[in-house]
Each structure stands twice: as C-alpha cells, then as structure tokens.
Symmetry: D2
Subunit: 348 residues, 4 copies
C-alpha cells in the first residue's frame, strides 16, 4: 500500500511534537514536511529531544509547504482560521489541532474567545473531533477540528448521562486539575519553575473557552449552563475532571454502570475504572501518560442524588495529538488504534 | 508571669510534631511531657527531625502523664473519646485535635463515622474549634475540639455567604485538593512514593467525614446538603478548596468583596486574596506552608449566578496545630497571634 | 514462525510489570504463565494498572509453573539462587533479573552482599547481562543474569575510557541520582510520601552492591577501586550518574568524542548527548522514561585533567526489563530492538 | 535601644525577598527603603506574596536611596561593583549578597567570571561572608560580602578536614544537587515548568564560579584543585553536596566525628547529622527550608580511604539572606541567632 504523505504545519510545539512521535511510528504514514520558523533548518530533535536518533527530518518553513495528502495544523490558536484557504490548496484533507474550527456557531467565538471568527463559512465544513461522538461523519470528512483537551475529558465523562437525559444538566459543576504542558512551550513568568512548582493555581475559575465545546456537544438543542473551573497543579501532562452531576432519578451504581457500558462497550480507547480497593480505584492521569485512553469512573453519593464522575486523559494525546491520529485513522479506514497502542507505564 | 505547663498526649504524629514546634517557641508555654509509645524514651527529634538541636525533651509514656495546666490530645481519631474522663483528671483544660468531639449531635457519629460515640454526654462540653466562629465561647471554654482541616478550609471560605443567606445552599459543590500529610505518618501501600508521587487520586468522592462539620456549622437550623469531593495531589502540606456556590441575587464582585470584608476585616489570620494579575491572583497553599493563615479568593462567573470561592490553608497549621494554638491563646487571654507569626516562604 | 513461549516468575513487582508490558507487545512472544503469590488468581492489571484492557492473563502460583521455552525470573534478590535447579527443569533458557547470578566470583557475594552464595557452581553458567559488552556470548547463552541498574548506567558511561586505559581508574568518583522505583514496590517508612517527597537522601554513600559489578566488568585484570555514592531524589523512574574521571593524557573533547564514537557507533540503544545549547545539552533521565536508551554525555574541565561523564537510563527499562528483553532478542536471533522501539516522551 | 535603620537595594528578587522577611521580624531593625525598578511604587507583597498583610512598605527607586545605617545590596551579579562608591556614601556599612566582592584576588574574576573586576581596590575592604570562618573580622567590619550558596555548603562541609590537613586535597570530588531558586526569579526557557519539572540537569559539570571561593578559603597557601559539578533537580530551595575526600591516614568514624565536634561544637547554626537508622540519617535539604542551619554528615568507606561528606543548606537562607543577617548580627554585637530562630518544618 502507498503510504499517506502528511505534513505538519507548526511542528515545534508540544502537540506537534507528540504528533510527530506518533506519525514516525505509524506504519501507513510518510512524513513529508514539518514546519517551524523558529527551528527552521534544524533537526526535529532540537525541538523534541525524545526524537534524537529516531529521525533525520529537518524543519521547513511554513511558506515552503508542498502538496501532500493530509495536512495537520498545529499552529497557535488563531493562526489557522486566517490562512485556511491556502492550506486547502496544499492538501485535500486537513486536521486542525487548534481551537479555530471547533465551534460551529460563529457567535460562540465572540462570546468565548472574545473576537469574531474570520472565516465563519468554513466552520460548518469541519467535523468536531471527538471520534466517539462523530465517528461516522469523520469517515467521510475532509476537515476535522480536533477537540479541546479539557472539553474531551469532560464530554466523554458525561456524555452518556446527558444523552440519556438522566441528570439535571444545569446543576453540573466540574473541576479539572491540569498540568503545565497545557499552556504550551512558551516560557513566561507564570511557568517559571520556582513559582509553578508545587502550585495549586486557580488559573481559570470561570469562563474557560472549552466550556463552549461542552455546551455545543451536550446541549441537544436545550439551552444549557455548565459550571466549570480549572486548577493547575504540579504535573506536566494530564487532566483529571471531577464532575458533580445530579440525577433526576435515584439510580444506583449498577444502573449507572450499565449506562456507561451501553455507551462505551465497543470503544477501544475508553475504560471504565471503578474498583473497590487498591491505589487505582478511579482514573489516574499519570497512568495515561503517552496513551490515547480516556479513563472514566464514578461514585454515587449515598446521602444525596449526586453522582461524582471522574474522567482523565493525557492532554497531549487524547487531548491533542492522539485524538488527531485517531481521527486520521478513521478518515482513511485504518484500524482506529493503529499507532496508538502504547499502554502507558507503571510506576511513573 | 508563670508559664502555662502543657503536655501533649500522642506527640509523635504530624500534628503533634507541628504543635511541639509551635509550643517550643511560644513565650508563655512550658512543655511538661510529650507522650509516644513508639518513641518512648527517645528525644523528640527522632520523630521530628526539624527539632534537632532545638530541644532535649524525651518522649514519655501515655500512662505516665502527670498533672498539668492544659493537655493537648493528638491521638489517632477514636482514641480520645474512650479515655476522656482520665484526661480530665490530668488537666483542667483540654484541646483535642482529633475528630472525637467535633460533632455536637451524637447521631452524626453513627452517620459519618460509622460507629456510635462512646461518651455522648461529653460532646456538649466541647467548643468547636474554629476561633473565627466561636471566639467568645473559647475564651471561657475548658474543652475545645480542634476543627477538621478540610472543614476549616471550606467553612471559613463560605461562612459569610451562608450566614448572610446569599446562596442557594443545597447547590453548593466543593472540590478540595489535598496533600499527603493529611493521611498521617503511618506508611501504607497507598502512600508508597512510586504510587503516590504524581498522583491525582480521587480518594473520597463522597461521604467525607468533614462534611458533618460543615453542615453543623453552616446550616443555621435548616436542613442542608453540601456536595463535597476530595482529591489527593502530589503535595505534602496544604489544602485548596474550590467551591461553586450559586447566588440568590446576582451580586457583583464588589458587593461580594464587601460581604467578606465585613465578616473578616478584624481577623488576624484571614486574608482576602484576589488580584488582577500575577501568579498569585488567588490563594495558593504553598505560600501558606508553616503559617496559620486562611487565604480566601473568589471569582464571579459573568455568564451565570455562580460564584467560585477559593480557600486555602496549611492542613497541619490552621488545619490542626496552628488552630489549636490559636484556641489556646484565646483560652488564656494571650494575643491571638502569639507564637503564630511565621509569614510563610516564597519561593517554595 | 512459532512464538517463543515464555513465563515470568515473580511478575507482580515493578521490573516484572515492565517486562510484561514489553512482552505483551512483542510480536514473537507468547506469555504462558505469570506468577505471584500475593495476586494469585487475579488479573495482571490488579498489580499493573497500566495493563487494564490490554490483557486478560491471570497470575498463577510459583509452584504451578509449567514447561516453557524461556523463563524470566523477577523474584526478589536472594530468591533465585536457592531454586535455580528447579527452574532449569522448567525451561532450557533462563533470564534472571535479580542480583543472584551477576558476580562470577562467589567471594564477591560474601564481600558485597554479606552472605555466601548458595550455588556457586552455577555462577559461571550465567552471562553478565549487558549486551553491549557480552553480545556474542549472549547469542549462545542459555542463562543470562540481567545487570544492575546503577551498574549498567556507570559501566556503559565509562567502559570505553577504562577499556582504552585512558583514565587513572582508582581516582574515579561517581555519584548517581536515583528514583524511588529502584527500591521496589513494597511500602515502608522510608517510602512514605510525606517523607520521601522532596527528599535528597544519601541512602548509600558507600558500599553499594552494584559496585561489585562495575569492578568485575571494568577492571580488566587489575586490582581496582571505584568510589561510588547513591542519592535518592524526588523522581519515580530514572538514574543519572555523574562520574568524575581523571585522564592520563590531556585529551580534548573532540578526541574523547572519537573514543565514544568508536566504541558505540553501531549500538542501537546508546546515544551520545552533548550539545552546545538548549535544555537538553546532557543526558536527562526523564526523556528516557519507558525507553531502552542509554544516553551518555561528557564535559572536559578546562582547568584540570578531569572529565565529567554523565550517563542516564530508565532503571526499569535499560536497568531491568528492557535490557532483559534486549538479551532475549539476542538469544533468539531477533532484531535487537524488537519490542523496544518506544522513543520516550517530551515534555514529561 | 534605637533600631538599626537598614535599606535594601534590589529587593524584588528571591534573596531580597527572603532578607525582607527576616528583617521585618528582627526586633532591632527598622526597614527604611527597599528598591526595585520593576515594582517601583508597589507594595512589597506584589513581588513577595508571602508578605501580604505583613507590611505596607512600598518599593522605592534605586536613585532615591537615602542615608541609612546599613545597606544590603541584593542586586544582580555585576551590578554592585560599578556603583560601590555611591553606596558607600549612603551607608557606612554594607553587606553585599552578590558575587562582586567575594574574591580577594582580582585575577580570580578574570579566570572564573570571565571579565576583569571594575574596582579591584575595594576587594580587600570586604570580609568574606561565612561567619564560622571570619567571625572576629566581621565584628569589626564595615563591608561584608555574603558567600555563594554552593561555596558555603561545600566549605563548611570540608573546612575542618582541610584545615587539619587530613585529606589529599587535590583528589576531592564534589557533586551538588541544587534547586531552581538558585537561578533567580527571571523566567527563561530553561526554567519553563514542563522542561524544568522532573529534570536532573547537569547544568554546570565544570567551571562553576563558586569553586573560586572554595579555593580561596580552603587552600591555606597551597596550590589547590577541587573537582566540582552541579546538577539541578526538581526542587525549589535547597542544596545538598556529596563530597568525596580521601584521607591521608585511615581515621575511623569516631575520630572524624571528633574533628567536626572540635571545629563546630559552639556553632549555633551547624549540626552534625549522622544517625544509624531512620529516614534522616544524613542531612536533608527539605528539613532546612527557611532555616539558617548547615547540616553536615559523613560516612567512611570501609573498603578504602574515602570519606563521603554530605552537607546541606537552604540556598536562600544560609546560602544568602540568612547568612547575611547572621553577619549583620555580628557587626552590631547582637546575638548571632537573632531573627534566625525558625527551626524548619516536618513533614514538608
């Protein structure tokens, strides 16, 4: 079989690096070009030290991009939308990892991103990139917008409950704990190690942009509110969402288990994690480092109608590069797990 | 002035060690005895290595306790209630740091602790140990039960809002991030470093015992539900509570600021932390290590009636030893901050 | 091709878990049995949570081991030597990951392990398990003793210099920084998170057992002293050795580079890491997590004849399971890197 | 008694912040001015969040410095030497925390700092700032240059051995493990949390500037070489030095203990830490956070004449602000420990 020739625009960042790691080991992929203005002409491992001795590819410039089968856009948020018409000329298929085409309603950009979208017509061309929700569309899609990392964690954790109408949606309160890689690879005062180490920083108590994605995917036509906060902790990779939802009917844990089982039993990347003993009774982000899994657990409050749902991913994998590659596999009819088999490490 | 002669029963644990550190530098205190069966006869610094060269006191046995002015009980939960009548003979004043006398309603022990209280008559003799709520009672008290660490963090964060009836109490959802010292100094599989390091562990999604204290102190006669989850992160000391509360009326941040200011403006250990820029816009537990402060911040969600309240303490200080010493100062009419002046460190 | 049927004795520890992760994805391996008395009858993922959804194998008992092609021994140190005659009946080939057969001179067990060896005759049957030093012997070996993790790090870092006689061997001083997984999966007071977190613990300033391996492999018939200390830091996986060696002749960095290049240019798992700028100028253990690489760098002191050699591995991979699988590949004539392709992650 | 009026030039950095924390609680000190160009006009707690509610002092500009009794210089390295004549007009006594006046031989600046000293005449006016070595000179000094943090750790660890001529000086190899606060408060790519977290970075294998101080203080007229490397680990505060020294005569541990005891028995800030059991058998930097202690331990290699000396400090305290305040106390005849009583925390 001919390999798919892919290029990566903006390949020096963390999501780009993770994507390159995956692509280099994907049996059906040939990497054509990887761009970075900052590392122009240098070997990939100058930006991604884990790729030393793995590849001799060098960074190209964005302006030098040549035709290819599929183009991954790993540019900073806001950089894809302005040039999307050019990128369409370079490749018939595009997977964008930024937030630029995640929201189908242009007005949501005004509300959540604070500025209007510069190419609203293109928004409806993009499939929202969570394969577990949009698998069939992806198989036929040319344009996929990979979902936000926090959005992916929360949506996959709560989707079956919202879909089945089991909870009072507006009462949902969510708190995510996130690592420092979520902020990207640009150094700043807030990422300075003596300040960031040991931090439990309430970096976004309200108004996080990813909430717009949650509302889009889980409102099913209703007007919805979701109450979300994000806290940074001393961790590099990983997200753990603790979601408090309130059941309309007082289901017990067995019934809730069934709901999740029905929704996800055939999903290769979703695991229900709920054990009665041990250190890993519930999802744990460190076990997911480098993997494409979403781990989901829950506990029913015996004193109320509250259900606590715990969901976790690696923000650079299922929250970025891994999910993008999963979408890629779907687009080309490859086994969905191809190149995504790494099971994670323990201890770590 | 004659110094107050105090003894510490159960002085080899983390809260006991922290209390000893404070007592050794308190100008009006003379430590008479410190007990530990495990470290019997050894110097304090064998259990508390930070006290090397600071003191030559040795551990005694619990059975050897002699009369003193005030007895601190730092025994494991469940060990104070059975022997309280004996301890009353040793000292006219007692401060208990365990959970044994925190709840005034004996039935709460059945519900939250899973067993009946063995001396329910004594429960009403104890003042619940948050000075900011029970200062006047403490001044006259002989028995004080120091409050739970998570309970202290949450109650002080939300008290003014609940007191003033500003929120829909039953909708409150709280997520605390806690460190490993909260679990005490006994090693176990769950505290084994390769497992516990880097963990984001949902150790108590529902039914945490400290909720009983929150309900006791914040229900004001109403029947109340509070939705609380606790997650362990890779931190030794510290608690940060992220509380989602829902305002009855849509107050703005200035009005909320006033509520807190009115409630806490004279409190020596409470700081309102809410800045528009910098790394420390909101409370941060690492800045509180070794201090008795409670830092409280908040952010109003502009898209809903949600208010996110962020509160933080050092669990071994304001959540245990520091708060106990604050109570001690009140009992004897000393300045409330005596021996509690340490401001914390930065960077750390 | 028929798959090699392997069993793992003592498969619930950290090295065993890592080996199982590798074996499960090795194309030429079929896992027959995995033993653990503690987890007897349970699924592998109860001990190794990263293997959830990856395998349905359950733990067997040690006494139930059946014939197989090759047996991996991952038992605690001291447990292999006593039963080796039994294990030889189970499998014609054995790879032992413990220290029981690493030293060819039985007297070294008295000196470094503090007890005599119980089966000294078997010592000479085992090939010492660093493939880079004993590749040809391994290809014909039936019994391989996988090398110690600290020994592997130091030996591979210094071997070319000692082999070529370039340094004053007796002046060598080495300091390794190690993670907590090196101590195994049994909880103890010394591994209790509040004590172990943030620690920089001089756990073995002198007399580390792995020194015996260094002397065995690097003395080339001379009487040698090597000065070694080990310090535990707040890290789960990884070893970094800082070795001070003193050159007989004042070679410059280019000449030293040539020495390493000559020695290692065809080694698939050795990388020389020495860059003039960036965060990763020298080896960094976190980049090696999950990989079988040895990264080696150096810097010549311009003010003296000192050369500082920096070498690093993942103690559970190149220091245990990975190196054992590398030896396995050699024994069967498979490509040496088969099943060991994971390049590591960045950031992490 | 009239308080000493002190000012701090360059008070927004980490050493400056720590010094301010100490000065604010020193009973004999009145802070007159604190300068920072970056935080000009702002409250101290904008730079030092731990000082919130502790003080209302605001930052002044360097050009606005008024006369005072003693001036602390906490400026970046290289900024004191050029303006020292001006600072002498402002205050009759100066304590400089930078490296600008540590080396009495101007040529050492060429060799170790890579540039000539701009005011070599002033070098001999300054007393080198380790009180344990220069106490009597300090009592009469007007100018003190506070010692480097790594230099302090190593010198105090090895001084008695070198002084007594017990070791082969030239064979000494030292490896220090340091935290990120040593690099100061300016963010950079190398301090970006996803890169710096979990790092074991060989940041200075050779040629560290602090070696010049070690040679100056420990050569006693001989020509000396000391072999020093520095490795950054995932820690904010703290230094631990592992020093390999080689004894001329084969002293046992009891004799070595006597050497240290004789040298340091009256030192208020030096503790010999050497226990036969427990987690804290040797010095541990985390126990020293916030304290002015130097902890020193050792182990004699029974297989050779090597002695491993382990010494540890808090780089911002005994390695900077604490040692400067200790010197201040000596200059004014105050008890040496005044304002430096904090014993450190456990657990931490």
């Amino acid at each position: 079989m001919n390999k798919i020739r892919v290029s990566v625009a903006g390949g020096s960042g963390y999501a780009g690096g993770e994507l390159l790691r995956l692509l280099l080991f994907h049996p059906n992929v040939e990497i054509k070009q990887v761009t970075s203005e900052r590392f122009y002409g240098k070997l990939l491992h100058k930006a991604h030290p884990n790729l030393r001795k793995v590849t001799n590819i060098k960074f190209s410039g964005l302006a030098e991009l040549e035709e290819c089968d599929l183009l991954f856009l790993c540019l900073p948020h806001g950089k894809s939308m302005g040039n999307i018409e050019n990128y369409k000329k370079i490749a018939p298929k595009i997977i964008d990892l930024s937030g630029d085409f995640r929201l189908s309603n242009p007005l949501d950009y005004d509300k959540w991103y604070g500025h209007p979208h510069s190419n609203p017509a293109m928004l409806k061309e993009f499939v929202y990139g969570i394969p577990e929700l949009h698998r069939e569309e992806m198989k036929k899609a040319n344009y996929i917008s990979s979902a936000g990392c926090n959005a992916t964690t929360v949506i996959l954790g709560l989707y079956p409950l919202f879909k089945e109408g089991l909870v009072m949606e507006d009462r949902t309160c969510i708190e995510v704990k996130v690592g420092s890689s979520e902020g990207g690879n640009a150094a700043s005062e807030s990422s300075h190690h003596p300040e960031r180490a040991g931090a439990v920083r309430s970096y976004k108590p309200t108004q996080h942009r990813h909430v717009a994605e949650m509302l889009q995917e889980m409102s099913f036509g209703k007007k919805l509110d979701i109450h979300f906060s994000a806290t940074s902790i001393d961790m590099v990779r990983g997200i753990l969402a603790t979601s408090h939802v309130f059941l309309k009917e007082n289901l017990d844990e067995k019934e809730i288990w069934k709901v999740y089982r029905n929704a996800y039993k055939d999903e290769p990347f979703i695991r229900i994690v709920k054990e009665s003993s041990g250190n890993y009774r519930f999802p744990e982000p460190k076990l997911l480092i480098g993997t494409n899994y979403v781990d989901i657990g829950f506990e029913k409050d015996p004193f109320s109608n509250r259900l606590v749902v715990i969901s976790s991913i690696d923000n650079l994998m299922k929250g970025a590069a891994g999910q993008a590659l999963q979408a890629f596999n779907l687009m080309y009819g490859f086994p969905e797990t191809l190149g995504l088999e790494f099971p994670g490490l323990h201890p770590i």
